[in-house]
């Protein structure tokens, strides 16, 4: 048994002058305060990585900087799936009695700490150094390959993909911490600059500064109790060249295992938080997870299914596409927003019923997957 007892999220965008450690510290402070704990009560630390300030021992660097001496600490690196992978590990650590309160933290000054080109080059290194990176691909190109294939097999169009960017932007408008607050239309997405076709600028998440943190505890620390019901991972490949067929990707494996581990069915889910590095990522994952039929996710967006008032509210903070993406903290914002929704603290974004939530993270090029079900106990 484990509970998410505290969450902390910074605004995403520019945090001029803040280092990765600064951003991690601010997010951690928010999460620990939210849990009603003192720093000294944190006995476990899991952190991600920073492309701006790489370090072989980031967790202990952070612990010293932040001023705690945990009995368990290390970094975790699974690309975009890192936040949920750390949360899954924290769940098992507290469940096994290794720690009582594990702080999970990610933060990076990815926007102001290095050039956009430097970020693009750093991220492209998820490709194979000899057989892929030498060809000059970018992360959008890896996902662009997946997109053309997915569109080909399931009859999805560029206009369909644009719907996801429009939806995430509409959600971001209601969150003061989001990086983008200008409404966009499908026509805007279609007219935006080509990046790696079929993906255009507005199909891609931005580069951001930001930080997010959560505290995972063995016992609840307040009346608002959100429990991790069950979670699972799947890792089918690293490089897109070695990816299995679209019908055999890891999201489907992870969700099947998470359903088995938690006893939760998709029909039980009331809120969804799904990784959305690109519009194609979100479209595919929704369909892989069973939140929409094959090729039907865009139609569900148009019908309002994933809107705040819809049957399955999705990424109500705006997701990576519009809240922003600061690396490890990026997808942790999905988790923080889910917690706020489940505890009735989402303010003007509050959905009717977030009693059971499904979260899904993806790292690499649909390489690493983590599915997780959360449940509000009371």
């Amino acid at each position: 048994m484990s509970y998410i007892t505290g969450v902390g999220l910074m605004s995403y965008g520019k945090h001029e002058g803040s280092s990765s450690l600064d951003l991690m510290s601010k997010a951690a402070e928010l999460a620990i305060a939210d849990a009603g704990l003192k720093r000294a009560e944190i006995d476990g630390i899991l952190c991600g990585y920073s492309t701006v300030s790489p370090h072989i021992m980031l967790a202990t660097v952070f612990a010293e900087h932040f001023g705690i001496r945990p009995s368990y600490a290390h970094a975790v690196q699974v690309g975009g799936a890192t936040g949920l992978a750390m949360t899954m590990l924290a769940h098992h650590l507290v469940d096994a009695g290794v720690a009582k309160h594990v702080l999970v933290v990610g933060g990076e000054n990815r926007l102001t700490g290095q050039s956009r080109d430097a970020s693009i080059v750093a991220l492209a290194q998820v490709g194979h150094p000899d057989y892929e990176v030498t060809l000059g691909p970018t992360i959008p190109a890896y996902y662009g390959l997946v997109a053309t294939r997915y569109m080909h097999e399931y009859g999805v169009t560029q206009e369909d993909l644009a719907e996801f960017a429009v939806l995430m932007r509409a959600h971001a408008l209601a969150h003061p911490g989001a990086q983008f607050h200008q409404p966009i239309t499908v026509a805007d997405v279609m007219a935006s600059k080509p990046v790696a076709l079929p993906l255009k600028l507005l199909d891609c998440c931005p580069v951001s500064d930001g930080g997010a943190a959560v505290v995972i505890s063995r016992e609840a620390t307040s009346a608002a109790q959100v429990r991790i019901r069950g979670c699972a991972q799947a890792h089918t490949h690293q490089h897109v060249t070695a990816a299995p067929a679209l019908s055999e990707l890891g999201a489907e494996i992870a969700i099947a295992k998470a359903k088995a581990a938690s006893g939760v069915a998709i029909s039980d889910v009331r809120y969804a938080a799904v990784y959305d590095s690109f519009t194609i990522t979100l479209a595919m994952l929704l369909e892989d997870l069973g939140l929409a039929g094959r090729g039907e996710a865009a139609a569900r967006v148009r019908a309002g299914h994933f809107s705040r008032e819809g049957a399955m509210p999705l990424n109500t903070h705006g997701g990576l596409l519009s809240y922003g993406h600061c690396g490890v903290g990026g997808a942790m914002a999905h988790l923080v927003e889910t917690h706020l929704q489940m505890t009735g603290r989402a303010g003007n974004r509050q959905v009717k019923d977030a009693s059971i939530a499904l979260l899904h993270g993806d790292g690499g090029v649909l390489s690493s997957h983590v599915s997780m079900f959360l449940e509000r106990v009371r």
């Binding site: 030498t134 000059g136 294939r149 990046v195």
Partner: protein, 126 residues
């Protein structure tokens, strides 16, 4: 220990792949063992350069001065006649399902495989 024969990743205009002598699996990313069964006896083979386009993505935004000089360039995944999938460059208008054949071009200071549509000869059955 297998001697590694040079291929395009090492500046030679050849696409190579390996076949496991034990289980028959084909692999493109070179290793000293078979990733399917772990056996260490592999044959080193030269691919024909023939294949079919599996996916494409036309890169318009590159991130280094060397690669920016080439935009737009088409990153493609090709299913080769020999049964492995590879990433390469290709004509900008290639479509999924196109039959293609490889030549080699200069890109950002090195040679890379570049796939072009096969022009079917008159009387071809395909």
């Amino acid at each position: 220990m297998n001697e590694r024969p040079a291929d395009w990743t090492r500046g030679v205009e050849v696409i190579r792949y390996q076949v496991c002598r034990t289980c028959g699996a084909t692999q493109y990313f070179r290793r000293n063992f078979c990733a399917a069964c772990g056996a260490t006896e592999l044959t080193e083979n030269q691919a024909s350069g023939e294949g079919t386009v599996y996916a494409t993505s036309l890169v318009a935004r590159a991130a280094t001065p060397e690669t920016r000089a080439h935009v737009p360039y088409n990153i493609v995944l090709v299913d080769t006649a020999e049964g492995f999938r590879m990433m390469a460059h290709g004509q900008n208008d290639l479509a999924i399902g196109d039959r293609v054949t490889a030549r080699f071009v200069q890109f950002a200071g090195r040679i890379v495989p570049y796939f072009e549509r096969v022009k079917l000869s008159k009387g071809s059955t395909e």
